[in-house]
Symmetry: C2
Subunit: 393 residues, 2 copies
């Protein structure tokens, strides 16, 4: 199991998980710029900048590129270390590297920060979103930044990919929100994608998750310091954001994990929660600290934009998912996690069935484990070989 400092979902884990050896190459963070990007909704965003990184080498005919798309609270740091002293490598280092399932001896693997990325205060993240200065006003956009969709994330990635002279991707692979981007690539640009691997994902965000995403975001709006998004340069809504991130952290877990890791233990062995409101159970204390730690690197408005982008997602953004999926030409491998409570395995099953009914090549392999949604990150090594095989087909 490997974790990334720049990854929310790892915050609780850092306490418990060991670290394994990293991708050997030295990773360099680069920045891709677009003078202007017009959203699907028709809004023009000037000076778009997103960070990206790559592992391995692009071959002569530029046919060996694999794009990794990141999850809700993640960034483009999917593998390797920036410097040997980094505490941890990128979040999917277990499967990306020389000789690993996503083999950097064969493939040119690249990954980019999305628009409205959450980690605006992380020096290794570059994004354009509500915390970015709007050149027209000289001030951060705040909630005046256009509402963006997963298709917009994909369109910026497409401009990056094309800037490298790549006309076709060997695969697009992503976890959670990354799976939405992978599916969108397959539907929106079917001639540019040979394989799609949605990990802990779905072809369409279901109603229950639409509701939960709003519950995640609601504490930000409840925090008076949010001030309708106008907080830059003032006291930020750090408490609301920390609660939002705490909610994400528990939602990404599962019963079995919590029982094994914490049980009914108290945060301090001599402080019984029956005796004082100040005394807490260990799981509550760990979740609090995870939320607070992550809030420090994150931006509250960006969280709201990400929530809306996820809620709006149905592959292809059309009126009917079935019609949209008909466009896909790529082979698709869904990789659900058995204990996932955010995009449960049934989401993958439904998508595979729908693709097969449309005559597409679709299958699924399940990550076993009790870590919930997070198994798509920390348990990814357990499906490394099926992913390797799929990429070789």
């Amino acid at each position: 199991m490997r974790t990334s400092r720049a990854c929310l979902l790892s915050a609780a884990l850092l306490v418990y998980a060991g670290f394994a050896s990293a991708y050997d190459g030295e990773v360099e963070k680069k920045v891709f710029e677009l003078a202007s990007y017009t959203t699907v909704g028709g809004a023009a965003i000037p000076n778009v900048r997103v960070g990206w990184e790559s592992y391995g080498k692009l071959n002569a005919d530029r046919s060996n590129a694999i794009l990794i798309t990141h999850f809700f609270s993640g960034n483009s740091h999917a593998a390797g270390k920036y410097k040997p002293s980094d505490a941890a490598p990128g979040y999917w280092d277990a499967i990306i590297g020389a000789g690993k399932p996503i083999d950097t001896d064969k493939y040119f693997v690249l990954s980019s920060d999305t628009l409205v990325n959450l980690n605006t205060k992380d020096p290794n993240t570059t994004t354009t979103g509500p915390a970015t200065i709007n050149p027209a006003t000289g001030k951060p956009w705040g909630m005046a930044f256009p509402i963006v969709t997963i298709r917009d994330f994909v369109n910026v990635q497409k401009a990056l990919v094309e800037s490298l002279g790549i006309r076709k991707l060997h695969a697009v692979i992503g976890a959670s929100m990354g799976s939405l981007q992978a599916m969108e690539w397959g539907v929106a640009y079917p001639d540019m994608v040979d394989r799609v691997v949605p990990v802990i994902g779905t072809a369409e965000v279901n109603a229950f998750t639409i509701g939960w995403l709003d519950v995640w975001a609601a504490p930000i709006r409840l925090d008076p310091r949010w001030n309708k998004g106008d907080y830059y340069g003032k006291d930020e809504p750090i408490d609301g954001l920390a609660l939002a991130l705490k909610t994400v952290t528990i939602h990404a877990g599962h019963f079995g994990w919590a029982d094994a890791a914490f049980g009914r233990k108290w945060a301090a062995a001599d402080r019984d929660p029956v005796k004082s409101w100040d005394n807490q159970f260990m799981i509550v204390d760990v979740l609090d600290k995870a939320g607070q730690a992550r809030a420090k690197a994150s931006d509250a408005n960006s969280f709201l934009y990400l929530v809306r982008a996820n809620q709006l997602f149905t592959a292809g953004h059309g009126n009917s998912l079935e019609q949209s999926l008909a466009a896909i030409k790529a082979k698709v491998l869904f990789v659900p996690a058995e204990s996932d409570l955010i995009f449960p395995p049934g989401d993958s099953t439904r998508a595979v069935d729908m693709l097969r009914r449309a005559g597409k090549s679709a299958s699924a392999v399940t990550i076993t484990g009790n870590r919930g949604h997070l198994d798509g990150v920390v348990g990814i090594g357990r499906v490394g070989e099926p992913i390797r095989q799929f990429l070789g087909q």
Copy 2:
């Protein structure tokens, strides 16, 4: 399916569920008083008052009493109507009444409001908790009210039961938090209980649910009007409380229900959520309204006390659940709901296994359905016959 106006979980449902005919008898709300109650933790609470109601008649030897214990956001209105014009009968009217599985022609069925009941502004609820005037100060207790446990709820019920001359209960039956009380009755007072029926319940609140309970409560503490519990007579933390109740409402649901009831529909057909922050998905709008409606009848501090009481629950409140369960003499029938995400069926299975290993009579019958935890309320009719049989054994 039947619902109760005094029941949080029904708030979202009222829009969708039809109403069936009610228990025929006229229900009268009564109040039970104790001059003083001393908590298990040693704190004295003067002037304890709790509401209660009953259906059917106590027989001559007082051997036909069944106690119904209520869920987190419920009260003692388990069956019938106060007057014919009531919009809905009590929450378990499907199984309580003349000829029904909990047959009021045979049994004397009673139910009482717990300590720290949530519904302090509902005229049909009487409780003693943080919103109650502390006679020592002439002001509401607020967060100075003692932390109470499920055992304390049970002890007050025991005083009520004994005041009626009842020495033994034919059964204690309760849903969710009511299941905790039912288990506690069996462990704490084994000679007073012949049968225990924990519905959508557990013998011990697991770590994951301990964490989630805190996530439910956190928006109250985040609302500046909470003011550390000192808000009586001032602006109350209604927004934080509404978000807490919204979170409970979705957590009590399930994927299948949300898909069927809402899908990806918008709150208003002409207001696309991609176009404005003011436009919402239907499920979000319904959850918002459910939370806001319930907040009007509820008390924020009481919510915090209920959360703590639930987190603290392990049957018998001892060091080892296995040891505690050894005390039980009652037959136990667990009734999990298959799609429950709060106390999932595994909680019931583990409890049944543990009871059997200790040589007890324990079994389970599952409520099928896609309504999640709430199936323990709205789906209870589907297990009416197994409950009837169990009560007759």
